[in-house]
């Protein structure tokens, strides 16, 4: 088929779609909905990826975290609960003996502590005891004031550094620096506020109040407490070395026999990948189902309208065939018509989704500031993907009506009267 014939077909198709505006719009609705699902799903997954990257930034790709608990959730909770706590002594032994690490910092957390400011009680917070070196990790960057010093650290002084969310809740209109807060009825001076860190899955980190580990232990005691050790490798490439040294030392420190399994976990950013993947799979499984359903509806809708179109235009097809249209000419005319209808549906869906997402991103951020990274603009990639899907749907929906049209017998078609 010649190009001129193809251009001619495109013109014809446009004429025909415009002549039946309302019908075209209604029949493309299924495709609009289907493509919208694809776009929204793609957007959700892209957002998830971004959240993952943000998370990596905070946890640090060059960090491992030795803990009694396993972040991935892959191990049986029963086994993990039966593990012995990592004691303060064990933690410090590891920190002192570790050669390959750049930093090794003990961290201990108390969830739901009793925190007050001027007799007002605050819930949903976490007290975190750690050392001054925490300021050197990606999670410890300071926004206001300073982190506690080696001196304050080693003497267990009553100083506190607030996570950004804590500062916002406790001092909405006030400068938190220099204020006295009560943690379990002990007075602490606020000396610093951390940068805002929280993203989707680890938003708790902005709810922490950091105090020197010594002060922490003196308040909460050492019994029934497991210490986490954050370890930073000098370079990302050295992480495996650091990891194997850590495992070796920990096994030694915890007196494990060669046949015994590790009774601690080495947590790292990789572990977040599995929880991200879980959520992604979840989005996919919901999204795919709904998308498939709306595509089936869309295909049926367009197919139906194309069958109607073929019937209505039987005479036209007869005329075209009489003056020399081959089967392929008619076939392509109707397939292009269906495809174009789907393409227009895809464009409409893209515009609608752009508006939805723009508004949704702004609203979400206002409600939940940890979502400030959510993209407001749809990636162009999604446009290409939806165009390709629309193209395929158009062909699927158009092929049967087009074949029927192409196979019409010119004699019968000419005789057809609407």
């Amino acid at each position: 088929m010649k190009l001129s014939a193809l251009i001619e077909i495109l013109r014809e198709v446009f004429d025909s779609l415009i002549a039946n505006k309302l019908r075209s719009i209604l029949s493309a609705l299924g495709v609009v909905i289907g493509i919208s699902f694809v776009i929204l799903m793609g957007w959700a997954l892209a957002t998830l990826d971004l959240a993952f990257e943000k998370t990596l930034d905070i946890i640090g790709t060059d960090m491992i975290y030795v803990d009694k608990y396993d972040w991935s959730g892959g191990k049986s909770w029963k086994i993990i609960r039966q593990r012995k706590n990592i004691t303060l002594r064990q933690a410090f032994e590891l920190i002192n003996r570790l050669q390959s690490a750049e930093l090794a910092i003990p961290v201990s957390r108390k969830w739901m502590p009793n925190v007050k400011y001027k007799n007002e009680k605050f819930s949903g917070l976490i007290t975190t005891g750690t050392t001054y070196e925490y300021a050197l990790t990606p999670a410890g960057t300071i926004n206001q004031g300073r982190f506690f010093s080696l001196f304050e650290d080693s003497y267990g002084m009553d100083v506190a550094v607030l996570g950004s969310k804590v500062a916002e809740t406790m001092f909405p209109n006030d400068n938190p620096l220099g204020k006295i807060i009560k943690i379990e009825n002990h007075n602490f001076v606020v000396i610093g506020v951390l940068d805002k860190k929280g993203v989707l899955f680890i938003d708790f980190i902005d709810n922490q109040i950091f105090i020197p580990l010594k002060s922490f232990i003196s308040i909460y005691g050492e019994i029934n407490r497991s210490i986490e050790i954050a370890i930073k490798s000098p370079r990302v490439e050295d992480l495996e070395n650091v990891k194997s040294e850590t495992i070796g030392l920990m096994r030694e420190i915890r007196n494990l026999k060669p046949h015994q399994e590790d009774d601690f976990s080495i947590n790292e950013t990789e572990m977040f990948r599995s929880s991200i993947d879980n959520i992604a799979t979840y989005i996919w499984s919901i999204g795919i189902g709904m998308t498939a359903l709306s595509f089936i509806v869309g295909i049926i809708g367009i197919m139906n309208i194309m069958f109607v179109s073929v019937t209505e235009r039987t005479k036209e097809i007869g005329i075209r065939k009489t003056v020399g249209a081959k089967k392929i000419n008619i076939l392509i005319q109707f397939i292009i018509e269906a495809t174009l209808l789907c393409m227009i549906g895809a464009i409409v869906a893209f515009i609608i989704c752009s508006i939805i997402i723009f508004i949704a991103a702004i609203v979400l951020q206002n409600i939940y500031p940890a979502l400030d990274f959510v993209p407001k603009i749809l990636p162009f990639k999604l446009f290409i993907i939806s165009a390709v899907i629309a193209f395929i749907i158009g062909i699927l929906a158009g092929i049967m009506p087009a074949i029927r049209a192409a196979n019409l017998n010119p004699v019968d078609a000419l005789r057809y009267e609407n």
């Binding site: 088929m1 001129s4 003056v323 089967k327």
Partner: protein, 239 residues
């Protein structure tokens, strides 16, 4: 020139059978017929005589059940749909009782249609279609759609479309059937002038008056040629 070389249409013992449920219907039983270059032939017959079927066969819209059909010495009795489409596009210009124009397209576009399927470039198409429309006296109506044209004008557009690809034959099926007698006469005189200009015309009609324009009148009955009349005085109706 040898008469055999001038043979455009040659039907040899053509039969067309339709299956109607259990019954076989012989639309055409046995027809042999030759039509020569620049001949003006009318096919007549009452309804059910097989003239529509014969016209469809001659127009390559259909293939015979039995027999051979040579168009320009090419056997077209066993071609497939696409080959037939090509033959129709190149060799045959159709003029129908109901005009059969595309309702949404302008006169120009309608006349262009066979050229589109012939794969002719846009500029050449426009040029040729304009010329064809001018030759039927519609140079000033090119951008009108069929519903903006009178019946006679619509039929002129159809004739322009039939002419535009320089076919071997013009096949006119009751071309005046939907027209009043005055307009009908105009259309007949247009066809007659085409014959005068060297075209071969096959006219299908049930009206004696119309058929009398032709040189040769073939009367069908029950799927057979009943009689063949040589008309000593063609072009009677239009004058």
């Amino acid at each position: 020139m040898d008469k055999e070389d001038n043979k455009i249409i040659s039907l040899h013992n053509i039969a067309k059978i339709y299956q109607m449920g259990q019954e076989k219907v012989f639309a055409i039983r046995d027809i042999s017929l030759d039509i020569y270059k620049n001949e003006y032939v009318a096919i007549m017959g009452p309804s059910g005589s097989g003239k529509s079927t014969l016209m469809n066969l001659i127009g390559c819209l259909d293939t015979p059940t039995f027999g051979k059909y040579y168009l320009n010495n090419q056997d077209v009795s066993n071609l497939d749909d696409n080959q037939l489409a090509k033959i129709r596009n190149k060799e045959i210009g159709f003029v129908f009782q109901t005009f059969n124009l595309l309702a949404r397209a302008t006169a120009l576009k309608n006349v262009e249609l066979p050229l589109i399927y012939a794969g002719i470039s846009h500029s050449e198409r426009i040029e040729r279609a304009k010329k064809a429309l001018e030759s039927v006296g519609l140079g000033d109506r090119m951008n009108h759609k069929p519903n903006e044209l009178s019946g006679g004008q619509r039929q002129r557009v159809a004739i322009a479309r039939a002419l535009v690809n320089n076919p071997s034959i013009i096949l006119a099926d009751e071309p005046t059937g939907n027209l009043d007698s005055k307009t009908g006469k105009e259309i007949m005189s247009l066809l007659n002038s085409l014959w005068n200009n060297g075209h071969t015309i096959v006219l299908v009609s049930h009206e004696e008056e119309i058929a009398k324009n032709a040189q040769r009148i073939i009367k069908l009955r029950d799927g057979l040629i009943e009689k063949e009349i040589i008309n000593p005085n063609p072009l009677a109706y239009s004058n």
